[in-house]
């Protein structure tokens, strides 16, 4: 990356792989379970979190020297909640269609522990630009996992991807369904998201054994 120094580039790259917020830090699991039943919802959530985390990290970073340490968690919570509500209100007034799609996610964004986690762990101790990069990087790392989980859950659970019937029609018995294939309804339920995340963690730690914690 030409524009970014090596250290800054690491802020984006690390959370994608070796310091992934979901598979390594085990944050943001609840939203990874809740909204990955279809690919589209995963993508919407990933983009929303990227926006809120990037912006929130900058705001917290700018305020880092004046925030009283005793109430810093409350301050962080207020910042993220305010940001999300502002975005929600503006969308409702000027992009109503989009706001309808996002409405479900508003609550989930506020309670996403990755956001609070990055505020606390990074933005409070770093400048705005680096905090912004860290926010984007972590949101990307979160998004990658969400998209992978969403991809498998939608494909195996509903036989569709982004709503398109890629495996054929289960009712008309065309495509794969003609030879007896069935959708696995269990994939649509939250436990399977956890199992898919578990498989990703397994694959990741097999490839890079330094990630395995000492028992």
């Amino acid at each position: 990356m030409g524009i970014l120094s090596k250290k800054d580039a690491g802020l984006i790259k690390d959370p994608l792989f070796d310091n992934n917020p979901i598979t390594i830090q085990v944050l943001g699991i609840c939203s990874a379970l809740a909204i990955t039943a279809e690919l589209k919802a995963s993508i919407v959530m990933a983009v929303s979190v990227m926006f809120v985390l990037g912006l929130g990290n900058v705001v917290i970073s700018l305020m880092r020297n004046i925030i009283p340490s005793k109430i810093r968690i409350i301050v962080q919570l207020i910042v993220v909640a305010t940001l999300v509500i502002i975005v929600d209100l503006v969308l409702k007034a000027f992009a109503y269609e989009l706001s309808k799609t996002l409405s479900v996610f508003v609550g989930l964004i506020i309670t996403n522990c990755i956001i609070m986690g990055r505020f606390e762990a990074f933005a409070l101790g770093n400048g705005p630009w680096r905090s912004f990069l860290d926010g984007i990087g972590n949101a990307l790392g979160y998004g990658v996992i969400l998209v992978i989980v969403g991809f498998f859950r939608e494909l195996l659970g509903s036989g569709t991807l982004l709503g398109f019937k890629v495996l054929g029609d289960p009712i008309e018995k065309t495509g794969l369904y003609a030879i007896g294939y069935e959708n696995n309804g269990f994939m649509l339920l939250s436990p399977m998201a956890l199992i898919v995340v578990g498989i990703i963690i397994w694959i990741q730690r097999t490839k890079n054994t330094t990630l395995i914690e000492e028992a």
Partner: protein, 262 residues
């Protein structure tokens, strides 16, 4: 090590100032954007009602409303009357036309009647006003009724268009916070379209409603008089909510449809 930001007085002042700033910012935004939001919601109601009676921009699989810019125009073109009913037991006690209702209610259009408020009125023992929108399209008459109920997480609601025999001609469902990919799919075409052609009443005039049923052995939805549509996998409670709101709210309109036949 003691920093200036650690002192109690600083913490207190910071908290107060922060709350004031954030509070006034949000209050200002909310009240200044309110007209826009209200207007968007008003247009959406028109679009929903039109959608249910088949005035929409649907292609093969998407559910698309008429454009916001023409919603008002199309609404006055297709909706010929907006009735407001009051029902007690199985008798209509009061029936107002749009003009009559608007005279009594500060020129408020009947389609803006808040179903949630009316349901609360009914619970409190007061009269519930039931709006019913009569539409004409291609020589056919549609009767569109709003319904509202509870899903898994929050409210769900919809508009159901029927003909004079209470056979469903179209339905639109929406929700506030159902799970994406599961309960949220009640607003998908494949679910809403299943309701088209379903009978709500038996031939002898008994109101049956429609149950969102698991394993109804009719996934293609060929049987239109089984009072059932196929459920969505993983969305049992939302589906039950849909069945419940159809049974509860549409049954209130039965006296009107019985009068039509006389």
């Amino acid at each position: 090590m003691s920093k200036k930001t650690d002192s109690n007085s600083y913490t207190m002042i910071f908290a107060v100032v922060m709350v004031l700033i954030v509070g006034s910012l949000l209050a200002f935004l909310a009240s200044s954007l309110k007209p826009n939001i209200k207007e968007n919601e008003r247009i959406e109601k028109q679009q929903n009602i039109l959608y249910a009676m088949g005035v929409n921009e649907n292609d093969e699989s998407s559910a698309t409303f008429v454009d916001t810019s023409v919603a008002g125009e199309e609404f006055s073109k297709f909706i010929t009357e907006q009735l407001v009913l009051e029902v007690e037991g199985n008798k209509i006690t009061k029936q107002q036309t749009r003009t009559e209702y608007m005279e009594d209610n500060n020129k408020q259009e009947p389609y803006l009647i808040d179903v949630k408020k009316q349901q609360a009125n009914a619970k409190a023992g007061k009269v519930r006003k039931l709006p019913l929108f009569v539409g004409e399209k291609d020589g056919k008459t549609f009767y569109v009724a709003p319904i509202r109920g509870k899903g898994l997480w929050d409210a769900i609601w919809g508009y159901v268009a029927m003909n004079e025999n209470m056979i469903i001609q179209g339905a639109y469902f929406d929700h506030k916070g159902e799970t994406p990919g599961l309960g949220a799919n009640i607003k998908q075409r494949y679910f809403m379209d299943d309701f088209i052609g379903e009978h709500l009443m038996t031939d002898s005039g008994e109101f049956k409603g429609i149950t969102v049923a698991k394993g109804n052995n009719d996934p293609k939805n060929d049987d239109k008089t089984d009072y059932e549509v196929d459920a969505i996998a993983g969305a049992t409670i939302t589906g039950d909510g849909v069945s419940a709101m159809i049974k509860k709210d549409l049954s209130l309109y039965v006296p009107y449809f019985k009068n039509l036949k006389k």
